[in-house]
Symmetry: C2
Subunit: 137 residues, 2 copies
Amino acid sequence: MNNRYIVIVGCGRLGSHLANKLSKCGNSVVIIDRDESNFGKLSPEFSGFRIEGDATQIDVLQSAKLGQADILIATAHEDNTNMMIAQVAKKVFGVTKVIARVFDPKHEEVLLKLDIEVICPTAAAAEMFLTAANRQS
Amino acid sequence: MNNRYIVIVGCGRLGSHLANKLSKCGNSVVIIDRDESNFGKLSPEFSGFRIEGDATQIDVLQSAKLGQADILIATAHEDNTNMMIAQVAKKVFGVTKVIARVFDPKHEEVLLKLDIEVICPTAAAAEMFLTAANRQS
Protein backbone atom coordinates (compact mmCIF):
# COMPACT_ATOMS: atom_id res chain seq x y z
CA MET A 1 0.00 0.00 0.00
CA ASN A 2 3.04 2.27 -0.18
CA ASN A 3 3.57 2.88 -3.86
CA ARG A 4 0.49 4.86 -4.70
CA TYR A 5 0.10 8.14 -6.52
CA ILE A 6 -1.56 10.59 -4.15
CA VAL A 7 -2.65 14.18 -4.82
CA ILE A 8 -3.18 16.36 -1.75
CA VAL A 9 -4.93 19.73 -1.93
CA GLY A 10 -3.97 22.19 0.81
CA CYS A 11 -0.60 22.40 2.57
CA GLY A 12 -1.88 23.61 5.93
CA ARG A 13 -1.21 21.80 9.19
CA LEU A 14 -3.22 18.73 8.17
CA GLY A 15 -2.25 18.60 4.49
CA SER A 16 1.47 19.00 5.16
CA HIS A 17 1.37 16.38 7.92
CA LEU A 18 -0.30 13.87 5.59
CA ALA A 19 2.09 14.72 2.75
CA ASN A 20 5.11 14.13 4.99
CA LYS A 21 3.76 10.85 6.35
CA LEU A 22 2.55 9.44 3.02
CA SER A 23 5.72 10.46 1.21
CA LYS A 24 7.95 9.01 3.92
CA CYS A 25 6.37 5.57 3.60
CA GLY A 26 7.03 5.38 -0.12
CA ASN A 27 4.05 6.90 -1.92
CA SER A 28 4.38 9.39 -4.77
CA VAL A 29 2.81 12.57 -3.48
CA VAL A 30 1.87 15.80 -5.23
CA ILE A 31 0.73 18.65 -3.00
CA ILE A 32 -1.10 21.74 -4.26
CA ASP A 33 -1.48 25.05 -2.44
CA ARG A 34 -2.28 28.60 -3.55
CA ASP A 35 0.29 30.02 -1.17
CA GLU A 36 3.87 28.96 -1.82
CA SER A 37 4.95 29.86 1.72
CA ASN A 38 2.82 26.98 3.05
CA PHE A 39 5.26 24.52 1.49
CA GLY A 40 7.62 25.51 4.30
CA LYS A 41 5.60 23.11 6.48
CA LEU A 42 6.86 20.14 4.47
CA SER A 43 9.71 18.22 6.05
CA PRO A 44 13.14 18.21 4.37
CA GLU A 45 12.58 14.50 3.63
CA PHE A 46 9.42 15.16 1.60
CA SER A 47 10.25 13.71 -1.80
CA GLY A 48 7.08 14.63 -3.67
CA PHE A 49 6.13 17.50 -5.96
CA ARG A 50 4.79 20.91 -4.94
CA ILE A 51 2.40 22.80 -7.20
CA GLU A 52 1.60 26.43 -6.44
CA GLY A 53 -1.88 27.05 -7.77
CA ASP A 54 -5.61 27.13 -7.21
CA ALA A 55 -6.90 23.56 -7.15
CA THR A 56 -10.40 24.68 -8.07
CA GLN A 57 -8.95 25.32 -11.56
CA ILE A 58 -9.13 22.23 -13.76
CA ASP A 59 -5.78 22.98 -15.43
CA VAL A 60 -4.05 22.99 -12.06
CA LEU A 61 -5.51 19.56 -11.31
CA GLN A 62 -4.42 18.43 -14.77
CA SER A 63 -0.87 19.60 -14.13
CA ALA A 64 -0.96 17.46 -10.97
CA LYS A 65 -1.87 14.49 -13.26
CA LEU A 66 -4.97 13.88 -11.18
CA GLY A 67 -6.30 11.45 -13.78
CA GLN A 68 -3.51 9.04 -12.82
CA ALA A 69 -3.98 9.40 -9.08
CA ASP A 70 -4.97 6.51 -6.85
CA ILE A 71 -6.11 8.88 -4.12
CA LEU A 72 -7.19 12.52 -3.88
CA ILE A 73 -7.11 14.12 -0.45
CA ALA A 74 -8.81 17.52 -0.02
CA THR A 75 -7.75 19.51 3.05
CA ALA A 76 -8.35 23.13 1.98
CA HIS A 77 -9.67 25.45 4.66
CA GLU A 78 -13.12 26.00 3.17
CA ASP A 79 -15.64 23.18 3.03
CA ASN A 80 -16.95 24.45 -0.31
CA THR A 81 -13.51 24.23 -1.87
CA ASN A 82 -13.02 20.67 -0.67
CA MET A 83 -16.50 19.62 -1.76
CA MET A 84 -15.98 21.08 -5.22
CA ILE A 85 -12.55 19.55 -5.74
CA ALA A 86 -13.69 16.17 -4.41
CA GLN A 87 -16.56 16.06 -6.88
CA VAL A 88 -14.36 17.09 -9.80
CA ALA A 89 -11.81 14.43 -8.83
CA LYS A 90 -14.50 11.77 -8.73
CA LYS A 91 -16.59 12.74 -11.74
CA VAL A 92 -14.20 14.45 -14.16
CA PHE A 93 -10.93 12.66 -13.37
CA GLY A 94 -12.41 9.33 -12.24
CA VAL A 95 -10.26 9.02 -9.11
CA THR A 96 -11.26 5.85 -7.24
CA LYS A 97 -10.59 6.99 -3.71
CA VAL A 98 -11.46 10.56 -2.79
CA ILE A 99 -11.25 11.74 0.84
CA ALA A 100 -12.30 15.23 1.89
CA ARG A 101 -12.20 17.18 5.12
CA VAL A 102 -15.34 19.10 5.95
CA PHE A 103 -15.84 21.09 9.13
CA ASP A 104 -19.62 21.26 8.93
CA PRO A 105 -21.20 17.85 9.63
CA LYS A 106 -24.13 18.85 7.39
CA HIS A 107 -21.87 18.66 4.36
CA GLU A 108 -20.98 15.07 5.12
CA GLU A 109 -24.20 13.58 3.82
CA VAL A 110 -23.94 15.22 0.39
CA LEU A 111 -20.47 13.81 -0.19
CA LEU A 112 -21.19 10.32 1.09
CA LYS A 113 -23.93 10.01 -1.54
CA LEU A 114 -21.29 10.71 -4.18
CA ASP A 115 -19.03 7.91 -2.86
CA ILE A 116 -16.62 10.43 -1.40
CA GLU A 117 -15.11 9.61 2.00
CA VAL A 118 -15.47 12.36 4.56
CA ILE A 119 -13.41 13.25 7.60
CA CYS A 120 -15.13 15.72 9.92
CA PRO A 121 -12.76 16.92 12.65
CA THR A 122 -15.57 18.78 14.45
CA ALA A 123 -17.67 15.63 14.83
CA ALA A 124 -14.60 13.60 15.80
CA ALA A 125 -13.53 16.19 18.39
CA ALA A 126 -17.06 16.37 19.82
CA GLU A 127 -17.12 12.60 20.31
CA MET A 128 -13.70 12.71 21.97
CA PHE A 129 -14.81 15.49 24.33
CA LEU A 130 -17.96 13.66 25.33
CA THR A 131 -15.98 10.48 25.97
CA ALA A 132 -13.44 12.41 28.06
CA ALA A 133 -16.20 14.22 29.98
CA ASN A 134 -17.95 10.95 30.81
CA ARG A 135 -14.81 9.09 31.81
CA GLN A 136 -14.25 8.80 35.56
CA SER A 137 -11.07 10.58 36.51
CA MET B 1 -22.85 11.03 35.25
CA ASN B 2 -25.57 13.43 34.15
CA ASN B 3 -25.91 15.88 36.99
CA ARG B 4 -22.59 17.62 36.82
CA TYR B 5 -21.75 21.31 36.73
CA ILE B 6 -19.90 22.02 33.50
CA VAL B 7 -18.38 25.29 32.30
CA ILE B 8 -17.69 25.54 28.56
CA VAL B 9 -15.56 28.31 27.06
CA GLY B 10 -16.31 29.14 23.42
CA CYS B 11 -19.69 28.84 21.72
CA GLY B 12 -18.42 28.03 18.25
CA ARG B 13 -19.40 24.92 16.33
CA LEU B 14 -17.74 22.57 18.81
CA GLY B 15 -18.58 24.43 22.03
CA SER B 16 -22.25 24.88 21.15
CA HIS B 17 -22.57 21.25 20.09
CA LEU B 18 -21.13 20.06 23.41
CA ALA B 19 -23.29 22.52 25.37
CA ASN B 20 -26.43 21.25 23.65
CA LYS B 21 -25.54 17.59 24.17
CA LEU B 22 -24.39 17.92 27.78
CA SER B 23 -27.34 20.09 28.75
CA LYS B 24 -29.81 17.74 27.07
CA CYS B 25 -28.63 14.78 29.13
CA GLY B 26 -29.18 16.56 32.41
CA ASN B 27 -25.99 18.41 33.30
CA SER B 28 -25.92 22.02 34.49
CA VAL B 29 -24.03 23.90 31.79
CA VAL B 30 -22.65 27.45 31.71
CA ILE B 31 -21.27 28.61 28.38
CA ILE B 32 -19.02 31.68 27.95
CA ASP B 33 -18.32 33.53 24.72
CA ARG B 34 -17.04 37.02 23.91
CA ASP B 35 -19.52 37.35 21.06
CA GLU B 36 -23.17 37.21 22.06
CA SER B 37 -24.27 36.32 18.53
CA ASN B 38 -22.57 32.95 18.91
CA PHE B 39 -25.22 31.91 21.41
CA GLY B 40 -27.55 31.62 18.42
CA LYS B 41 -25.91 28.24 17.81
CA LEU B 42 -27.45 26.87 21.00
CA SER B 43 -30.56 24.77 20.54
CA PRO B 44 -33.89 26.02 21.91
CA GLU B 45 -33.75 23.17 24.44
CA PHE B 46 -30.46 24.38 25.93
CA SER B 47 -31.33 24.95 29.58
CA GLY B 48 -28.00 26.30 30.84
CA PHE B 49 -26.65 29.81 31.37
CA ARG B 50 -24.94 32.03 28.81
CA ILE B 51 -22.26 34.50 29.87
CA GLU B 52 -21.06 37.10 27.40
CA GLY B 53 -17.48 37.89 28.32
CA ASP B 54 -13.79 37.22 27.90
CA ALA B 55 -12.95 33.98 29.69
CA THR B 56 -9.30 34.97 30.02
CA GLN B 57 -10.52 37.45 32.68
CA ILE B 58 -10.64 35.90 36.13
CA ASP B 59 -13.81 37.79 37.11
CA VAL B 60 -15.65 36.31 34.13
CA LEU B 61 -14.64 32.83 35.28
CA GLN B 62 -15.73 33.73 38.79
CA SER B 63 -19.14 34.84 37.56
CA ALA B 64 -19.43 31.40 35.92
CA LYS B 65 -18.79 29.91 39.39
CA LEU B 66 -15.86 27.96 38.00
CA GLY B 67 -14.75 27.03 41.53
CA GLN B 68 -17.83 24.82 41.84
CA ALA B 69 -17.47 23.19 38.43
CA ASP B 70 -16.89 19.47 37.98
CA ILE B 71 -15.59 19.98 34.46
CA LEU B 72 -14.10 22.85 32.46
CA ILE B 73 -14.12 22.49 28.69
CA ALA B 74 -12.04 24.98 26.64
CA THR B 75 -12.98 25.25 22.97
CA ALA B 76 -11.90 28.82 22.06
CA HIS B 77 -10.41 29.29 18.63
CA GLU B 78 -6.86 30.09 19.73
CA ASP B 79 -4.69 27.44 21.34
CA ASN B 80 -3.11 30.04 23.61
CA THR B 81 -6.50 31.07 24.99
CA ASN B 82 -7.45 27.47 25.73
CA MET B 83 -4.09 26.70 27.30
CA MET B 84 -4.30 29.76 29.53
CA ILE B 85 -7.88 29.14 30.65
CA ALA B 86 -7.20 25.44 31.25
CA GLN B 87 -4.26 26.24 33.51
CA VAL B 88 -6.21 28.87 35.47
CA ALA B 89 -9.10 26.41 35.90
CA LYS B 90 -6.75 23.75 37.24
CA LYS B 91 -4.44 25.85 39.39
CA VAL B 92 -6.53 28.80 40.54
CA PHE B 93 -10.00 27.28 40.68
CA GLY B 94 -8.97 23.67 41.41
CA VAL B 95 -11.27 22.11 38.82
CA THR B 96 -10.71 18.33 38.82
CA LYS B 97 -11.39 17.63 35.18
CA VAL B 98 -10.14 20.10 32.61
CA ILE B 99 -10.35 19.30 28.90
CA ALA B 100 -8.94 21.63 26.25
CA ARG B 101 -8.92 21.69 22.48
CA VAL B 102 -5.60 22.52 20.88
CA PHE B 103 -4.98 22.55 17.16
CA ASP B 104 -1.21 22.33 17.35
CA PRO B 105 -0.09 18.87 18.51
CA LYS B 106 3.04 20.50 20.00
CA HIS B 107 0.89 22.15 22.65
CA GLU B 108 -0.46 18.78 23.77
CA GLU B 109 2.62 17.79 25.75
CA VAL B 110 2.68 20.95 27.88
CA LEU B 111 -0.92 20.46 28.98
CA LEU B 112 -0.66 16.73 29.65
CA LYS B 113 2.11 17.44 32.16
CA LEU B 114 -0.33 19.70 34.01
CA ASP B 115 -2.94 16.92 34.22
CA ILE B 116 -5.10 18.65 31.63
CA GLU B 117 -6.82 16.43 29.08
CA VAL B 118 -6.23 17.44 25.49
CA ILE B 119 -8.27 16.92 22.35
CA CYS B 120 -6.36 17.65 19.17
CA PRO B 121 -8.67 17.59 16.15
CA THR B 122 -5.72 17.95 13.75
CA ALA B 123 -4.02 14.81 15.06
CA ALA B 124 -7.35 12.95 15.15
CA ALA B 125 -8.17 13.98 11.57
CA ALA B 126 -4.69 13.00 10.39
CA GLU B 127 -5.10 9.51 11.85
CA MET B 128 -8.51 9.19 10.25
CA PHE B 129 -7.17 10.25 6.86
CA LEU B 130 -4.27 7.79 7.02
CA THR B 131 -6.64 4.99 8.01
CA ALA B 132 -8.99 5.89 5.13
CA ALA B 133 -6.09 6.15 2.67
CA ASN B 134 -4.77 2.71 3.64
CA ARG B 135 -8.17 1.00 3.59
CA GLN B 136 -8.87 -1.08 0.49
CA SER B 137 -11.84 0.38 -1.34
